[in-house]
Every structure is written in structure tokens, then in C-alpha cells.
């Protein structure tokens, strides 16, 4: 099943490093995204980041810079708006998402018509891991470190405020500051995975491994570790399968993103089946 030359191939190694970084960060941040009920915000940030990604093709700059810049701006807008009411939060998120995708449509149109880079649309929306330039690795590691540092620093306040914002504030936690730090970490995580598996599919890497981990773990640390492990398994497994697929249908391989998202789904289904058994016993 292993095609020859897997670990000596330059683009494959870049994909392993960048995809691995995206999987680790998404795995960590995703656990908190689900606990805080902000999956929709995560998806919206990814869609908005695609405006930055598509603009970077026009400007000829590092695409990760584009994805990250746009996601951080949108996160700041969403973080500073006081959104205690879940309905209002969803509305604002939806509006920001719509505006972002409008810009994406504009930039991609220019990409395709004026630059004749027809592949840009596929790359931005659905990712193309084997065409990521190796020069992106240092910035990837920086973005990943930033997101992980934000979560590590705010770990306990994040947990209490996921339990209840009121209980957090009684202890003196400034839930708005914590919420802002979290949403910035979320924007970095989402930009990274948008860069690797595409803006549209990045939600799968953010939510899927974390959701599977939450089915199995009953402690926050365990959930984070499991989520990272599942994310890495899906990402690296997907890269391997995509590399092999060049030999299944000679001439053209299958997209990595397809394999990653499919593996994430399989892990989630397996975790649901595994996780439901002991609980059913406990509740009777």
C-alpha cells in the first residue's frame, strides 16, 4: 500500500509539516470551540479568511499571511462586539461570513480573469496540500505557536467560562478578555487549516477530531490530547492515501482534502459507537 519515495518527496514533507501543524492547532482549539458552542463562528472565520487567501494570489504574497490577516481582522470584529446573546452572535457571525465570501468571490474572479491562475479557486476553497511552498514552513510554525500559547495561557479561565460565564466572573475572570484571546487563537487555527485543506473544508479539521475526542474523554487534558492525535492521524493518513492515489488512477491523484475529511468522518463515527457504550450502562 505504500508507494515508493513517500518520505523523500519535497512537497510531501512540506505537506506533512504544514498539515501536522494545522491538525495540532485545530485539535487543541477545536475542543474549546465545541465546549463554548462556537462552531459556527469557527466556520465563518474560515470562510472570511478565504478572502485574504484569494487576495494573496493577486498580490503575490505568502498565502498564509493572507489567510491569517483576514481571519484575525474578522475575529477582532467578532470579539470586540459584545455578544452575550447567542442569537445576536449568530446573526453578526452570519453577516461577517457573507461579507467575507463576497470579497472572496471578487478576488477569485480577478485571479481567474487577469492572472490566468485558474487553480486559485480550488486551492483557496478546497486546498491543495502538495502545492504548498516550503518557504511557508517558518510562518506556519509561528502561527501555530501563537495559537497554542494563547490557549495554554488562558486554559483554566477558558474552562470555567465554558462551564458558566457567571461562575467565571464571580471568581474575577474577565470573560471578555478571555473570549477575545480565545477567538484570536481560533482565527489562527482556522487560517492554518484553511491554508492546508481549504477554507470550506477547514471546519472538518476544527470540529471533527475534537467532537470525536469529546465522545471518549471525560477530562479536558485527555480530550485535547485525543483530539490532536485524531487530527494528526486523519491529516497524515490523508496525505499518505493521496500520495498513493497517483498509482490508483495513473496520471492524476485524488485531492488530499477529500481523504482527510473522509478519515475525520470515520474517526467521528467510530468514536460515537465506542463512546456510547459505557454511558448507556451508567445511565440505567
Amino acid at each position: 500500500m505504500f508507494a515508493p519515495g513517500f518520505l523523500t518527496n519535497g512537497p510531501v514533507l512540506t505537506a506533512i509539516v504544514v498539515g501536522g501543524g494545522a491538525a495540532i492547532v485545530s485539535g487543541i482549539v477545536g475542543v474549546f470551540t465545541i465546549m463554548r458552542g462556537q462552531s459556527f463562528a469557527g466556520h465563518a472565520l474560515a470562510d472570511v479568511s478565504s478572502a485574504g487567501g484569494s487576495a494573496s494570489f493577486l498580490l503575490g504574497v505568502n498565502p498564509l499571511l493572507g489567510f491569517t490577516g483576514m481571519a484575525v481582522i474578522a475575529a477582532a470584529v467578532m470579539g470586540f462586539a459584545d455578544m452575550r446573546d447567542a442569537r445576536e452572535r449568530d446573526l453578526l457571525t452570519g453577516i461577517v461570513l457573507g461579507a467575507g465570501l463576497g470579497l472572496t468571490a471578487l478576488f477569485l474572479y480577478f485571479d481567474i480573469t487577469s492572472m490566468s491562475t485558474g487553480g486559485a479557486a480550488i486551492t483557496v476553497l478546497f486546498g491543495s496540500m502538495f502545492s504548498i511552498p516550503a518557504s511557508i514552513i517558518p510562518l506556519t510554525l509561528g502561527v501555530a505557536a501563537g495559537a497554542i500559547a494563547a490557549i495554554v495561557a488562558t486554559y483554566r479561565p477558558l474552562l470555567v467560562s465554558s462551564l458558566s460565564a457567571e461562575l467565571a466572573e464571580v471568581q474575577g475572570v474577565r470573560s471578555r478578555v478571555i473570549g477575545l484571546a480565545y477567538v484570536l487563537a481560533l482565527s489562527l487555527a482556522v487560517a492554518l487549516s484553511a491554508m492546508t485543506i481549504g477554507a470550506i473544508l477547514s471546519t472538518a479539521l476544527l470540529i471533527g477530531p475534537a467532537a470525536a475526542a469529546l465522545r471518549l474523554a471525560d477530562r479536558p487534558g485527555t480530550a485535547v490530547v485525543l483530539s490532536v492525535a485524531i487530527g494528526l492521524a486523519a491529516t497524515w493518513g490523508g496525505i499518505l492515501l493521496a500520495y498513493d492515489s497517483f498509482y490508483w488512477t495513473p496520471g492524476h491523484g485524488w485531492p488530499v482534502s477529500f481523504f482527510i475529511v473522509t478519515l475525520v468522518l470515520l474517526f467521528y463515527v467510530a468514536a460515537t459507537l465506542l463512546g456510547s457504550r459505557p454511558r448507556a450502562i451508567r445511565s440505567t
Binding site: 483554566r156 474552562l159 461562575l167 467565571a168 471568581q171 477530562r219 451508567r282 445511565s283
Partner: protein
């Protein structure tokens, strides 16, 4: 450290929400180790008063002082048990994790293993009678069990003041009596002042040594038999009220 005898001073407090006066000129004090019922009908402003004490609602006038200094939120520990928390059953937190978060949830950085912290958490789990289910996910526990865990979460920092919003609202008569007896016991053991709201004072009668009675936008406070009287409550409500003692229960009704 000088210990102020008063754990809570509410001084001429008025709160207005969306232009409507909720209550006016409410004043009472609560000593350490005191057990006080905050009694009033639905909509009388009990939750608003608790939120004003916690600093969640800014008063129109008057002030709240907690502990020795006129301390603000966070600096002087105040324990709070909200009426209802929507707990996602998938929350990856065991009951004991929730108690530990009551101790150091405001701290930055990852929690390092600490025997002192574990000991304090264990002690508090024992104190609320939750040692048996400490290892289970918080979302898998029954409502009564969750309440005990939230109580331990609130008390683990050893606050001088503990506020509970309608802790008896969803409990049957026996569980309510158990919780009241437990609160009285914790109140004595930790010398914490307990203020709990309830729409029915009867489950509290055996244990509470003070009462704050909210009605008609005003409050009367003092010992139970000083406040729950025909003349005092008639003045508070602004119309004639009968206070009837039936065996060991008290019934308050309009004439």
C-alpha cells in the same frame, strides 16, 4: 488579619432595570456564620438583589460592601450557586474538576499537579457529601448531585459570603430539607455567611437566623419572628396581610 464581624453590608440599595424600579432603599447586614433567607414571590427582585451583590448589576444608588473592605468582584471571594446552569453532557469535566476550577479557575497557565490542591478539593467533596460521584462527568450527574458539586465549587476558596439563587426550586421536600441542613452545617463549619433566595420560607424555618423579605419594591429584615408578622408585612405590602401559623409552618396571605 482583622476579621470584620459583618460579611455583607447592603446599604440603601436601589436598582433600576430598563427604567423600572425593581427595589428601593434596601438595607441589611449579614454576620459571618449567619444563615439568612431572602424571601419573596416570583418577580419580587430576589435574583436582581443577588446580582447586584455580585456586581453583575449596577445599582441606581446605594452600595454593597463585602468582607472587611468594600471589596470588588474577584478580590474578596464570594461563593455563588446560580439557579440553573445548562450543562452540556459532553463537557469533558469530572465533578472534581469542577470543584478544582472553583479554587484556581482564574489563574493563567496550565494547572500543575498539586497535592495541596487535591487535598482541598477532596475535603470540600467530602463536606458536601459528593465523594461517591466525584469521578463522574458533571453532565452525567442528577440535578441534586450537580447542585452539591456547584456548592463545593463555590465554597472551595473559603469565601466569607455564599449566595444561592433558589437552591430549593427544583427539589422535592426531602431533598430540600437535606440541602438546607447541609447548608446550615457548612455555614457553621466554615463560618461563612449564607444568603439564599426562596419563594417559600417554610423549608428554612428551622435553620435560618435572619430573613430579608422582599415585596412591593421594598425589604424588611431582621429575625424571622420580628419580620414575619401581620403588622410588619402589611406595612411592606401596603395592604392588610395575615400571617398564620399552622403547626410548624407559616402561611402568609392577603386578607
Amino acid at each position: 488579619m482583622t476579621i470584620s464581624p459583618e460579611a455583607l453590608v447592603v446599604d440603601h440599595l436601589s436598582v433600576r432595570l430598563a427604567g423600572r424600579m425593581i427595589f428601593e432603599d434596601v438595607g441589611f447586614t449579614l454576620a459571618r456564620g449567619g444563615f439568612c433567607g431572602l424571601i419573596g414571590a416570583n418577580g419580587s427582585g430576589k435574583t436582581t438583589l443577588l446580582r447586584a451583590i455580585l456586581g453583575f448589576t449596577k445599582p441606581a444608588s446605594g452600595e454593597v460592601r463585602i468582607g472587611a473592605a468594600g471589596a470588588s468582584r474577584g478580590s474578596a471571594p464570594v461563593g455563588y450557586v446560580p439557579q440553573k446552569i445548562l450543562l452540556d453532557p459532553q463537557l469533558p469535566l469530572r465533578a472534581r474538576d469542577v470543584v478544582a476550577l472553583g479554587l484556581d479557575g482564574r489563574r493563567l497557565g496550565l494547572p500543575l499537579p498539586s497535592r495541596t490542591r487535591d487535598a482541598r478539593v477532596d475535603e470540600m467533596l467530602d463536606a458536601v457529601g459528593a465523594a461517591d460521584f466525584a469521578g463522574q462527568r458533571i453532565g452525567d450527574l442528577s440535578g441534586g448531585q450537580q447542585q452539591r458539586i456547584l456548592l463545593a465549587h463555590a465554597l472551595v476558596r473559603r469565601p466569607q459570603l455564599l449566595l444561592l439563587d433558589e437552591p430549593l426550586a427544583n427539589l422535592d421536600v426531602r431533598s430540600a430539607a437535606e440541602i438546607v441542613a447541609l447548608l446550615r452545617q457548612l455555614c457553621d463549619a466554615y463560618q461563612v455567611a449564607v444568603l439564599l433566595s426562596a419563594h417559600d420560607m417554610n423549608p428554612l424555618l428551622a435553620h435560618m437566623d435572619r430573613i430579608v423579605y422582599l415585596a412591593n419594591g421594598h425589604a424588611a429584615s431582621g429575625k424571622t419572628d420580628e419580620v414575619v408578622r401581620t403588622d410588619v408585612l402589611s406595612r411592606l405590602y401596603g395592604h392588610p396581610i395575615d400571617v398564620v401559623h399552622v403547626r410548624d409552618r407559616i402561611v402568609v396571605m392577603a386578607q
